[in-house]
Symmetry: C2
Subunit: 211 residues, 2 copies
Amino acid sequence: MPPGSPKFRRRKAERPDEIVAAALEIFAEKGFAAARLDDIAARAQVSKGAIYLYFATKEDIFRAVVEQAVLPNVGMLRTLLASHPGPFDDLVRRFSALAPQLAARPEMGGVIKMIIGEARNFPELARVWHDQVVDPALSGLTTAVEAAQARGEVRPGDARLYALGLVAPLLVSVLWRETFTPVGAEPFDLDALARQHFATAMRGMLEPAPG
Amino acid sequence: MPPGSPKFRRRKAERPDEIVAAALEIFAEKGFAAARLDDIAARAQVSKGAIYLYFATKEDIFRAVVEQAVLPNVGMLRTLLASHPGPFDDLVRRFSALAPQLAARPEMGGVIKMIIGEARNFPELARVWHDQVVDPALSGLTTAVEAAQARGEVRPGDARLYALGLVAPLLVSVLWRETFTPVGAEPFDLDALARQHFATAMRGMLEPAPG
DNA sequence: TATAAGTAACTGACCAGTCAGTTACTTATT
DNA sequence: AATAAGTAACTGACTGGTCAGTTACTTATA
């Protein structure tokens, strides 16, 4: 340790972001309950006390993580879904290129896993995640399916269930990666999965071409 | 409290099963880490000390839960998959009748959720669950898909990915029920989901009828 | 030199696992 | 049939360790 170098710096402006970034990593690794404030502090290179200068509680930190790290990704998806006029086939092609990229982000898997694991014990976390992330995404996709049905491209049926069917395999493969791959299970190739799944789903969902 | 009634009964034979049943409920409600041994003891109507007469550690209790409460269900599925000669269409019809029933069992959702949430912190739990439950089920289904491909019923493609595609929406809807329904999200109807999903998947997977 | 950013020791609540003692039940003896 | 001696199932208070949140103090900076 150089004798002239100070023991710490005063960096009021940068601290919150750094703490949130560290918290994202630790939450993703350990889950909410098992994540220790001391670990978050160490990763952010501050003391635990410093965290409490910027956040009132552990749950507060989580809320900041959702807002800063996750919401931007969802926004990307929503604009894609909302702005696309059709045909549905083409929307799904774009979607199938974007979705594996989103799914591949390490923070996604960790946070999703965390939400599922802790929802019962921390309902507030589940509510935030549902209202801000999951419901907008699923609703957007459902609306797109309904529009395609109205245009006669997609077969009749519950649009929300179709939307679930489109997204579910991606989601499960992310959970698989987080849960079972570390214990030796064979991973799924996200891109291959997306390609085969969306092709199969399109054959199942689209109306046969007229004529 | 009637004066003549004893403070406890000696019931060596029944205790382990009762403790495991209680543990299943508490684990499903709270997750592994947040489940308190005192809660399990109270639900099983014994003292905490009594649990340690029958199980060495908390993880030991979990292993017993998997063996006693979950494995029988999986066995049912495996025999269905292994014993069926084809056509694939028909196997999936039976599967789609059985799967929602399995998915509807409350212990399933709770335990699945727990595994996902705690895998990183308790890899041993994830390994047990993978080796005993998930891998047998997925492998069985994959084998059935491969057989159907060999008979020319199912289109070419990665059989394991097809298997994942079949199961994923059920799994996600179970997680949805456990995670978001308690916070006010709209639930999925398991039977309607199974019906629509398997019909769609069959259109996507099967070879067009020859001729 | 005033003050706000930051530290680190501390508190209090929580909980898995332990164990000394208690009680229900069994068996030998009369 | 009555009961004393013995066994093991069971209890519940306790221990040692962990961790969110607090506080008394230190240090960087205007």
